[in-house]
Structure formats: C-alpha cells, structure tokens
C-alpha cells in the first residue's frame, strides 16, 4: 500500500490539514500536497481507467508529463475534465472524480475491452468502420462518438464562473523554467542589466535538483536555490512568476505564458488564469528533462511509477508509493530512488539493472545500504489488476524465460532521461541524437531563427542535455550570458557556482525489456498509457507499411493524447526504428506543437467574452430605437433596427405596417450607419474617376450621382451616392458594411499606385447622424420645422444643399432609395437624437413612423434597386445587373475596366438581373435555384438562375423577388421552376425588376 511517511516531505506543511473528496469519499492531505500525492497518501493508487481498454491506471509521474492521473475537478459551472492530479495543488474542499468508467472506477463494464485487445489492434477504427458505407452515419458514428474522449464534457448549460485576462509584455529575455538552470541563467542575464522575465510552471523554485541532491559551492542545493531566489527578488529588472508555464514559442520571439493564479485557492479574488503574450529578444528554455518509462509487460499496472517520480513523492511530499518496491533501470539515476526509499524505511526488494556490468558509485552506495542489485536482469512481467502484486524477473538479454517471482506492491522504472525540447522545437529548432544518453537534444547550431536571422532561443541545463548538476550549472551560466549578449547587453564576468554530485556510469539504451520479449509480453508492454498504444501496435504498423513516424503516430494514435506523448514518444519511435531496421535519428520525431500542456479555453479568450467579445457600434439614436421596440439586426459591427415592434405585433406585421405607412404617409430611417467618405484635393476628381465606373469629375457642385465601385477584377464591390461639395471636394456614401474597407481600398490605391496624386480621404461616417425622411408627407414635415426652402424648385431630385432645418444645421440630400419623395438629412452626430425627436414630434400630424432595415429592403426591391451583398456576391459585374448606364464609356480607365473586357465577362450567357413574380403570389425561398433541362456531371439538375432578393410586398399584396437568370432579360414572361428544400416546387414568371411606380412619379414631386 502507499502511505504517508513520518519523515520527509519538504513541500508539505504537516500542521495544516486539508480535506478533499475523491469520487465522493472524504480524504485528508496537507497544505503543499498535490492531488496526486494526497491520493497516494490515502492509499488511492488506482485513479482512472485507460482510454481504449479501460484498464486500471495509477499515478505514473509527479509533474506535467503525467498520462494517467486525469480527473474531473470542481462542480457545476466550475467543473473541468481531464485535469492532471500531479499538477493540481490541493486545497480545502477540492472535489475530484475519476474518468472513463461505468458504472464505477472499481467495477467497469468497458474493461471487457481488455479481453478483446487482440481484436482492437492499431488502426482498428480505420479497418473496422469502413464497410458498409450506409452504416457510417447511424451505426458507426454514434459508437465512435461514445468511445471518444476521456473525461465528461461540462454540462452544456454551464457557464464558466471565473474570469480570465491577458497580459501583453515585452522583455529582453524570457527564461522559461525556474529550476537551478533557469534561476542561474536568469541571474546571469539580469546582471547585464537586461530586463528578464522568469516563469516557472510549478509553485516552487528550484525544480527537481533539491530532490536529486548534490551540493553547490559546497552547500546543499536547497540553500543555493534560496539564495539565488532572494538575489533575483532584489533586482529591479527581474520579474518572476510561479505557476506560470511557458506554453509556446512562436515566430520572432513571441511566446505564451499560462499563469494559474487561483487554481490552488479558488476563493481568492481576481482572474483565475492569465495568458502572458510575451515578446522577448531572446528566450532561454530551462525546461529540464523527463524520465522515460521502460517497456515491459504490465508496465501500466497501478503501482508502476517512474523512478524519479517515486523519489519526488518521498522527498517532496513524504509519501511512500509502496511498502516493497522493485526498481528496474538502465542507468545510475534510479539508484538515487532506491537509496531514498531505503533511507525512508521502505523495503527495496531488488534493483534490476539491465546493464550487464551494472552501475557505478551510486550502485555501490545502494549495495552498501543492503539493497540487492541484479545486473543484467529485467522485468519479464508485472502481475496485479488494480495494484502491483508481484513481478516476474528474467535476463535482459533474452525472450523473457527462466523467471523468478518477486512479491512487491510498487515498481520504480527508469529508462533514462530526455531533455524537454518542446519549446525549442515549437518554432523550428532542430534536434540532434545523443548516442551516449539515447535521447534527442537541441542542436545549438540549428536554433529557431528570429527576424535578424540569428537564433533567438538558447537552452539551459538539462534542457540542453546536461543532466548532472555540475554540467547543468555550467551550461546554464553560459546560456544566461549568451542570451544577454545576443539581446544587446554586456554580460558580467563572474564565477560560476560549482556543482558537485556523485558521478554516474554510462546508461545503456533499453527499448524493450527483456530485449527480445515474445509476442504475449509485447502485447502487454505499453508505450502510450493515455491512448493505450503498445509495443505490438507500433510493430504492427511498421509491418503494414507505415514508415513515416508522422503516419505511424496517426495510425496508432501514439502520442496523440492530451499529454502529447511526453513519456511515449522516444520509446515509440525507437520501437518503430527497430521494426524498420533504421537508425533512430533517421526515423526522427513527430512535430512538437504548442501548448506544452493544455491551457484553458478561458485563458485563450481572456476578457473577450459576453459584451466585450466584440464592440457594438451604436448610432446617436440607438437608445431611442431600443426604447421604441427595435428588433435588432447586426450590420457589420452596427446594430440597426430590423423593424420596430409594437405591443402584440409579429415581426411580419410590423414590417408590413412600416412598408405601407412609408408609401402612404411618412417614414423615418436612421441612415447614420451609411459610410461617409470625404475625398478632397486637386486630383480628387481624377481619383474618383478611377474609383467609380461613372464619371465623377464632371459632377457639378451641388449635385449628387449614384456611383458603382468595382475591384480591379471587374466585380462590383460597393455602391452609393456621391455628392460634389465644392471644386475639390466630394462626399462619397458607401454601404453600411463598406465604409471601413472602401476607405482602406481608396487609401491603398492612393498610397501604392498614384502616390503622387494630391488627394486626401477621410472617413466621417461617425461625425454625422443621418435621417432619411421618406414618403408623400416628407416635405410637409420639414416645412413644419421651418428653415431652408426645400421646394421642388429650390432643391431638385439628386441635389444637395446646406442650411438650417428648425434649429439644426443640416446638409440635405434629395436622394431616394425607396422611390418616394425623400430627403436624407445629415446633422452633427451630437444633434442626432434631438433632430430625430423633432421629426417624430412634428411628424405626428403626418402619420410618421420609424422604419427598419427590412422595410428599407422591401421598398428598394419594389423599385428594382440592387443591394450590395444580395444582388452581388463578389462574382457579379455591373453589366449583369442592368447597370451599364452607370459605366462611363468616355473614360479611358477605371478600376475593373480592363477586367470587364475579358472573354468570360463579355459572355452573353452570363446570368442577368430580372424580376421574378410567383404564379400564386407566394414568396420565393431566398437563394433558391431555377432548374433547366438536363443534368450535370453529378446527376444534379442543371441550373439556369437563382433568387437574390425575395420579400412579401404589402403594397402589392404578393411576393416580389429579383434574381439572376440565364438570358433573363430576353425571356420576359417565361415561367421558371425553383425547387424548394422540402420537395415543393415554386413557379415564377420572369418580369421587369421594377414593380412599383416604374416612371418614378412619386419621387419627383
């Protein structure tokens, strides 16, 4: 059993007891525990079931690399699945539940998959779920979805109860990792005067060096850590953060830090997580190393742990993972675990050293403590269901026969250490294979390159492949100085602290234990614990022709779990290399991708949620609309009233009321959102002649002209009314959604093509409130307000004038998008609400009603006016829309002119704009296609047109529509068929697009 020791436990406070629950059972731990150490102290070795076979799984590691101990944390709005118990700091009231089992952790139906394991090999899903195709949707998909995923997703109604934020930080040097290497590198960098940000993912400085022992300048490592931390804390140019993980390294020195502020103290105020968005001149990765498991049969039975992790549990948290422990290793470091266990009073049954010659000084030390060491021996098989019961041992150099059984309840394994190269690799740093230590380490000659073409990442300590304390300190000291120098600072000379530790004998790579294990053993030797990938799976993949490590990864799912193969990658590719009879470096690694460990969605979103997710643009009259029943429609970032609902009205009723009233009495439209660009300068006319298809330079001062804008590809991109203000000033109205990008479009051409033209463009959209006063009573209401002469004689159609209306300075455009007598009146934005109020007040006598965008759409459709985005979709040219009259024949050039001469653009078979009138008066479905004779290559009916705008017209009492139809204008009166999505077929006659007041008599009064 695993239990709390009376001794050890440098990180726990035995005076502060903490209560928590696991699967509903109340347990106790100490402040400073992780959830994993507390579970082990409560003899809870088995903490979950595996993904595919539902095998019992226990804690394997003590840090971020943990593949098994994933739990659901918290409740309700704070529930989160797949949280690592090893990196979860214990707090009072913590609730955790285990995952991937039914009905309970100890009794699980899905465990039957273990018995079926031989039928669930690598690529099982690809092989099984391919035939027959009709099963895909309703048989296979539900099955696969049910099996997918480890933890339970939070309830769909749950809303994250916490807050999150982003920090934007610039620094000279970012040091990732606060172990002895990171601390020393940070100090040496900071002594140069450079600004240093030092982040550490755990809650403690010093990393694992204090556990591993040794001395620095003759003093224990603990002392060194204490002293260098207090030195760094006094330096004004150093920022230090614990619980802050280096999540990713990106181009040009961009890095992400993931700070967990209150996970260990959920009642504390402030944001829960903080995402640090860091720009650093140079980055030092001091990310340490991760121990590799050994591949032997039953290496996934609860109680089998990494040797280093077992040492951590004893030294850091005073927890013994077992009473009788067998140690299996291929290197000297695992002897430190054997020695630590022995000194803590745990029975170390045997050390199995796969090396025929055994180890060095550490082995001798272990032996001197009375620990039996068997060189050249290996684990053949671990037995036990939910807990290790015994191990069968054999010769490493064999197939696993001639076994001897050892009774034990825990196994410590060590396959050697691999540097954490993830952050180095994220942005293109290359790796070198270290034959002696059997690991990939960063190749300092091929670093990630920055904007200056030089490497911007330096590794320090174990992350460089320097594993012994003395080498770690030397490497880190140099890395700190190198980073400072590269960032433009002068590092100080100084003595490097001298590390001393017991020298180690060379390790020997062991990729399979025993070396020639037979098939039954290989089928129980796990590589990837979280995704249930075994040695036999990778070998099968190789036999089936998967040679690329990237393909093998996807086929077997090796390394594709949430731990991204931190334990399994090197072992897996070594097995693959062996099966392919290739060298490991030739096989290579899979791609390392950020984040290093999963980060919360909340941290990624930061403050951008709810109302601040996207700012809303409001017109000056927004609040009035809100108070008066506006049914909002998003238009770009604006909100515009779709219609104004009166009590008891449906949207349809409201729209019809507005449509009729505007034609019969008086309507008011808030048109403030329309883009208003001022184009000014001696060359403004010439410039606008290039921007618009029409001639704008000849427009007379005081006049307006409807203009079309095309892209250089010839396609229609925007339209609007242009007014000439004075000799060198034009005001261009754009669509609501177009103001910003048309402004940018103009700037682009001015800055990059005609930069010698004297023109300025300014976007004045928000400077004005603009109201369309529309309907037969439009002039009357304005005359009631008094002021400027707005008679037909004083202000003719398509003219504009400055003046005063009532008490308001106004610019009045006599333009119409409705076909009614209409004035669009711009007043300063600050006067918008007052002006609107005055119109509403004065309008009462004339039947005034505000109207929304849907009414606007219907009125314009009745008049056959096009709408950008309805009649256009980026593939439509003005000629398609019967707008050739708005394309100047006189101009030599304008944007899109040349492209409109291309053969496809002049093709007589382009679909052209027509009106569509349903035979029965119904409303055509929007976007419906008209079908013609024959079928296409896919067996679908050939299409001959489509609906672009469709509405119910209350004025005409029937549906109206426009559409683009093959040879449409030549087919007036012909009836087309439009199949609906529900099997019905709509029939509509091709008619003129203008269905209301064709001669324009209403607007010219």
């Amino acid at each position: 059993m695993s239990t709390r020791l009376p001794s050890h436990g440098r990180l726990i406070d035995r005076s502060a007891q903490v209560t928590f629950t696991f699967n509903g059972a109340t347990m106790r731990g100490y402040a400073g525990d992780t959830l994993a150490s507390a579970l082990l102290a409560n003899d809870r070795m088995m903490v979950g079931r595996s993904f595919k076979y539902h095998r019992p799984r226990g804690v394997v590691a003590s840090g971020a690399e943990e593949p098994n101990a994933l739990v659901g944390l918290g409740q309700g709005n704070r529930f989160e699945p797949n949280q690592r118990a090893t990196t979860t700091e214990l707090f009072d009231g913590l609730t955790a539940v285990s995952q991937n089992h039914w009905p309970s952790l100890d009794f699980d139906i899905g465990a039957v998959n273990t018995a079926l394991a031989r039928f669930l090999p690598a690529g099982f899903y690809y092989k099984m779920f391919i035939h027959p195709q009709p099963f895909w949707k309703h048989v296979y998909e539900p099955f696969i979805r049910k099996s997918a995923g480890l933890g339970r997703a939070p309830d769909s109604e749950a809303r994250d109860a916490d807050t999150y934020e982003h920090f934007h930080v610039q620094t000279d040097i970012l040091v990732i990792g606060g172990g002895v290497a990171g601390l020393l590198a940070a100090r040496n960098a900071a002594l140069s005067g450079a600004r240093v940000l030092l982040i550490e993912q755990t809650a403690h400085w010093g990393g694992r060096a204090p556990v591993d022992g040794g001395t620095v300048d003759g003093a224990p490592v603990d002392k060194f850590v204490e002293q260098i931390v207090s030195e760094l804390e006094t330096m004004a140019n150093v920022t230090m953060r614990l619980r802050c993980m280096g999540a990713g390294v990106y181009d040009h020195g961009y890095a992400l830090g993931y700070e967990r502020l209150t996970d260990h103290d959920p009642d504390a105020p402030g944001p829960r997580h903080r995402l640090w968005r860091i720009r650093a001149r140079r980055i030092v990765t001091a990310t340490g190393a991760i121990e590799r498991p050994l591949s032997f049969a039953g290496n996934d039975v609860p109680g089998v742990m990494l040797a280093g992790a077992m040492r951590d549990y004893v030294v850091n948290w005073g927890v013994a993972p077992g009473r009788r422990v067998v140690v299996a290793t291929n290197n000297d470091d695992a002897y430190r675990t054997a020695i630590t266990l022995k000194q803590a009073g745990v029975d170390v049954v045997r050390v199995l050293d796969a090396r025929a010659a055994g180890g060095g000084a550490l082995m001798e030390e272990a032996r001197s403590l009375g620990i039996r060491v068997d060189p050249g021996r290996a684990i053949a098989k671990v037995s036990g269901g939910k807990r290790v019961k015994k191990v069968a041992i054999c010769n490493q150099d064999g197939i696993g026969g001639a076994r001897e059984d050892l009774s034990c309840d825990a196994v410590a394994m060590s396959g050697g250490w691999s540097p954490v190269v993830h952050l180095w690799s994220h942005c293109g740093g290359k790796l070198a294979w270290d034959e002696d230590r059997a690991h990939f380490r960063p190749d300092p000659d091929r670093p990630p390159l920055g904007a200056d073409g030089r490497g911007f990442v330096v590794t320090a300590g174990a992350a460089s492949g320097a594993l012994a304390l003395d080498a770690v300190l030397d490497d880190a000291a140099a890395a700190g100085k190198a980073a400072a120098k590269a960032a433009g600072h002068s590092p100080r000379r100084g003595k490097t602290p001298r590390g001393e530790t017991t020298p180690e004998a060379a390790m020997e790579p062991v990729w399979l234990m025993p070396a020639r294990a037979d098939t039954p053993l290989r089928m129980k030797s796990w590589l990837d614990f979280q995704n249930d990938v075994k040695v036999s799976d990778v070998q099968l993949a190789a036999r089936e022709g998967y040679e690329s490590v990237e393909h093998t990864k996807r086929y077997t799912t090796l390394g594709m779990a949430t731990d991204q193969g931190k334990l399994s990658n090197i072992n897996g590719l070594a097995i693959l290399a062996d099966a392919l009879e290739a060298e490991i470096p030739k096989v290579g690694t899979t791609t390392f991708r950020p984040p290093y460990t999963p980060i919360s969605m909340g941290a990624i979103a930061g403050e951008a949620r709810g109302e601040v997710f996207q700012p809303i643009r409001r017109t000056p009259m927004h609040d009035w609309h809100e108070r008066n029943g506006a049914d909002w429609e998003p238009v770009g970032h604006w909100r515009r009233p779709f219609t104004y609902l009166r009590p008891g009205e449906t949207v349809h009723d409201a729209v019809n009321r507005e449509v009729k009233n505007t034609r019969e009495n008086l309507g008011l439209l808030d048109a403030s959102t329309l883009g208003k660009l001022v184009v000014k300068g001696p060359d403004a006319g010439r410039f606008l002649d290039m921007m618009y298809t029409n001639m704008m330079s000849t427009l007379k001062v005081g006049k307006c002209r409807y203009g079309l804008m095309c892209s250089e590809n010839g396609f229609l991109i925007d339209d609007g009314v242009v007014a000439r203000i004075d000799e060198d000033t034009w005001l261009c109205h754009t669509t609501t959604g177009g103001a910003e990008h048309i402004h940018a479009h103009m700037e682009e051409w001015l800055q990059t093509e005609w930069w010698d033209w004297k023109v300025h463009v300014a976007n004045l959209t928000e400077q004005y409130a603009q109201v369309a006063v529309v309907g037969p009573n439009a002039r009357k209401v304005l005359e009631t307000l008094g002021g400027m002469d707005l008679s037909k004689e004083a202000l003719a159609f398509m003219e504009w004038k400055d003046g005063r209306i009532g008490e308001f300075d106004a610019r009045v455009y006599r333009i119409s998008f409705s076909g009614e007598l209409s004035y669009e009146i711009a007043v300063p934005a600050s006067k918008g609400q007052a002006f609107w109020d005055a119109l509403i007040e004065a309008g009462r006598a004339f039947g005034v009603m505000p109207y929304g965008t849907e009414c606007l759409h219907i009125l314009r459709a009745e008049k056959g006016f096009i709408m950008i985005g309805d009649e256009t979709d980026g593939t439509v040219i003005p000629q398609d829309l019967g707008l050739s009259w708005a394309i100047s024949k006189k101009k030599e050039d304008f944007l899109g002119k040349r492209a409109q001469q291309r053969s496809h653009m002049t093709d007589p078979n382009r679909w052209k704009l027509v009106g569509l009138e349903t035979v029965d008066g119904s409303v055509l479905p929007d976007g419906a296609y008209a079908v013609g004779e024959g079928v296409n290559a896919n067996g679908q009916r050939n299409t001959v047109g489509r609906v672009t705008s469709t509405y119910h017209s209350a004025n005409l009492g029937r549906g109206i529509a426009m559409g683009l139809v093959l040879n449409g204008p030549d087919r007036m009166g012909e009836v087309l068929e439009f199949p609906g999505t529900d099997g019905t077929v709509f029939k509509a006659k091709i008619v003129d697009p203008v269905v209301y007041d064709k001669d324009g008599e209403k607007q010219n009064v």
Binding site: H252, D452, E748, Q751, E753, E892, D893, R898
Partner: protein, 109 residues
C-alpha cells in the same frame, strides 16, 4: 507571429496590428494591355522558398502601406521600406545580398 518595423512611424509592429497585402512591385495593367499581361497582373504570383517582397499595411497603427523584404523559409526580415517605389532600394538589396549572396526575385537581384 512576425514583427515588422513600420518605416513611417518607426515602430516595431506585431503582426496582429498589420494587414497583409500580398506581393510587392506588381505593375498595374489597365485598358490596352494584352490578355497575357492582364493575367500576369491579376493572378500570377511568386511563391518562393526564400527571398520575397511583400506589401503590408500598418492597419491598426498609422494606416500606411509599406514594403517588406523577408525570407519565407527562415522568416528573416531584411528590411522594410516605403511602398512608394517601383523597385527595392539599394540598401535593401545589399542587406539581402549580405545574408543570401546570389539571390534573385523576378527581375531583381
């Protein structure tokens, strides 16, 4: 995420504050051009592994367009310069030559 120095305001600008504008130094072909010229102008683009010239706009800053010379493979930036030119200035070409002797891109080298 790239950093480019805006030659107008002198700031080192994050990619999130920039808008990309595709290839630089493309000559406009309007009315009177051949179909082949038009096709080149509208559609044909370089896609090099290595030295490349691009247009960027400091969209969330000063709003100015500028040009950048950079390597698409290593993301090294050789320099940024005014968009109001039809060819890369000599100091930019020299900076590229220093890092990549023998480079060429379209008609420039």
């Amino acid at each position: 995420m790239l950093i480019l120095r805006c030659p107008y305001c002198g700031n080192d600008v994050d990619e999130t504050d920039l808008a990309p504008g595709g290839e630089a130094h493309i000559r406009r072909h309007g009315p009177g051009s051949t179909d082949a010229e038009l096709t080149d102008y509208l559609f044909q683009r370089e896609n090099p592994r290595g030295v490349h010239f691009e247009r960027w706009r400091h969209a969330a800053g000063c709003g100015k367009w500028f040009h950048a010379a950079r390597a698409t493979d290593t993301l090294q930036v050789f320099g940024t310069y005014s968009a109001q030119t039809t060819e890369p200035p000599q100091e930019i070409r020299d900076a590229i030559t220093k890092a990549r002797p023998g480079w060429s891109w379209r008609e420039f080298s």
